[in-house]
């Protein structure tokens, strides 16, 4: 089992440079391992192909706490690491929520919760209509599932057997929880549960493709509030 926080991890020093975003600290780090596995092992996407029509698409729906996202994009060369030193500054392209118009490699600007999954359904449909084989991934948080717009997209993707992959980072941050489990909210989807800190498990789950069904990967990480 490969766990994070290895002494040689290239991401930690990059994240430390993003000191401006204290508010979303827990949420930003919860996504770290999934994002690294996506960009390091799964996505057919490089800085050179960031605008190619046949690139794989990754949409960060949970735009809160993008520190890990920015660190991974910098580590992969989408923009200079220097950008990390001025998070949220007037002259910085990097805000506390990402803007696709300002940041190379960012597919959607998010921040308001509950927009990424609907957009991802549209992206997957658009790629399919144009005969592209590229994959579409979208990452949400468990609390983000509170937004009803997600449930419109969940039902429609299942009904139309749309082959996109949604990842829900579960750090038990939803105020009223999801009794019965998150996967139960995705009827008709192929679901997998992984340890969100185990990069081998994450890679195994994300590499699998089901061409005629939407895929859900629930990545559980340490709870946001340890006193619950």
């Amino acid at each position: 089992m490969t766990l994070t926080a290895l002494p040689t991890d290239p991401l930690r020093p990059l994240i430390r440079r993003l000191t401006g975003d204290e508010k979303h600290d827990a949420s930003s780090h919860s996504t770290l391992d999934v994002l690294w596995v996506l960009y390091d092992r799964i996505l057919r996407l490089t800085p050179e192909t960031a605008d190619a029509p046949d690139r794989d698409r990754f949409l960060l729906s949970k735009g809160h706490g993008p520190a890990a996202y920015y660190a991974v994009l910098a580590a992969k060369g989408f923009f200079p690491a220097d950008w990390l030193d001025d998070l949220g500054g007037w002259d910085s392209p990097l805000g506390h929520h990402p803007d696709r118009v300002r940041i190379p490699g960012v597919e959607v600007g998010t921040g308001s919760l509950g927009h990424g999954l609907g957009l991802a359904v549209g992206v997957a449909l658009g790629l399919r209509a144009q005969g592209e084989k590229a994959r579409t991934f979208v990452l949400l948080g468990d609390a983000e599932l509170d937004e009803g717009s997600n449930h419109e997209a969940i039902a429609y993707a299942a009904a139309t057997r749309l082959p996109l992959t949604a990842i829900v980072i579960d750090n038990q941050s939803a105020t009223h929880g999801w009794p019965g489990g998150i996967a139960a909210r995705f009827p008709g989807w192929v679901t997998a549960m992984v340890n969100g800190r185990d990069r081998e498990q994450i890679e195994y789950a994300l590499a699998k493709r089901h061409h005629d069904r939407p895929n859900l990967v629930v990545a559980a990480v340490e709870p946001k509030w340890s006193n619950r």
């Binding site: 600007g109 927009h115 609907g118 549209g122 992206v123 658009g126």
Partner: protein, 289 residues
């Protein structure tokens, strides 16, 4: 107007592989033949307007040109944040095509009426707004919207003028006389009837956004009456900007802000809002003389 929209969009689907249509059950039957022919590009998401708009944003991100259609209150009022973020903030466009307008759904009640749609879109950047006054104006407007990637709203209604004006994108003078009265879309016929024996200039446009500022400056000589088929005063800012520095008096007529808790016909509601010929005549005459 709805049938012209369905026919024209069905043609566009066959002509241009970038064209897509996203529906939320409304008008799905009318698009059934197109859906059979282009199942990957005619998408009915069910009664899910947030998803309809998000899907359109996603389609546009992959290079398609989505036409998004529903009843006006469900298309604009309900999914306003999706319009703001899934289109504008993503820097992509779509063609939103509504039916129902301010009170076509007179017997349906306020839930099916959207007098505020244009004013809501005015809070956002870069929307072109078409308000055709006749079915024969609709096809050209849709074809113009298909030819680029910007954000376009097309407001269709059952209320129609007796004559189409294909050159209505700028202010088109219908009758020359004294002070200017501007009629937007289906307001032209009631304005012409209301001012039949009044010494006014009547100009028509089916494109209130962007409003023809140059035409306004040329035609306004001190006084102006705007008559719009949505909330009264919706164009007050645009008129003020167009005439900035030019002394003028303006009267803005349109749908009132109070909810009319009555049913009846759209003609009943027009009368209740003072947008029938008699109501327009008394207010225009009172303002000008």
């Amino acid at each position: 107007m709805r049938q012209t929209f369905v026919d024209t969009t069905t043609e566009l689907l066959a002509e241009d592989p970038r064209t897509a249509v996203v529906l939320a059950d409304i008008s799905a039957d009318a698009f059934a033949p197109a859906m059979r022919r282009h199942p990957d590009r005619v998408l009915n998401v069910g009664i899910r307007e947030q998803l309809m708009t998000g899907v359109a944003g996603g389609l546009a991100l992959t290079g398609l040109r989505p036409f998004v259609h529903s009843y006006a209150p469900f298309l604009v009022d309900r999914a306003y944040e999706q319009i703001k973020l899934d289109m504008g903030h993503q820097d992509v466009g779509a063609v939103l095509v509504s039916i129902g307008a301010s009170y076509d759904g007179s017997a349906e009640g306020y839930t099916h009426q959207s007098p505020g749609d244009v004013e809501l879109l005015d809070t956002l950047e870069g929307w072109t707004v078409y308000v055709p006054g006749h079915s024969d104006e609709v096809a050209a407007l849709l074809r113009a919207a298909a030819g680029h990637d910007d954000r376009v709203y097309v407001r269709l209604t059952e209320q129609e003028n007796s004559q189409a004006y294909p050159d209505g994108s700028r202010l088109r003078v219908i009758r020359r006389g004294g002070p200017l009265v501007v009629a937007v879309g289906p307001m032209l016929d009631p304005v012409l009837e209301a001012t039949r024996d009044l010494d006014v200039t009547v100009a028509y446009t089916n494109t209130p956004r962007p409003l023809d500022a140059e035409g306004l400056r040329l035609l306004v000589d001190g006084e102006l009456v705007m008559v719009e088929p949505y909330l009264a005063g919706t164009s007050a800012r645009q008129v003020a900007e167009a005439l900035g520095g030019v002394p003028h008096r303006a009267l803005h007529l349109g749908v009132g802000r109070g909810e009319i808790r009555r049913y009846g016909t759209w003609q009943d509601h027009a009368r209740a809002h003072g947008l029938d010929a008699a109501g327009l005549r008394s207010r225009i005459a009172e303002f000008l003389w």
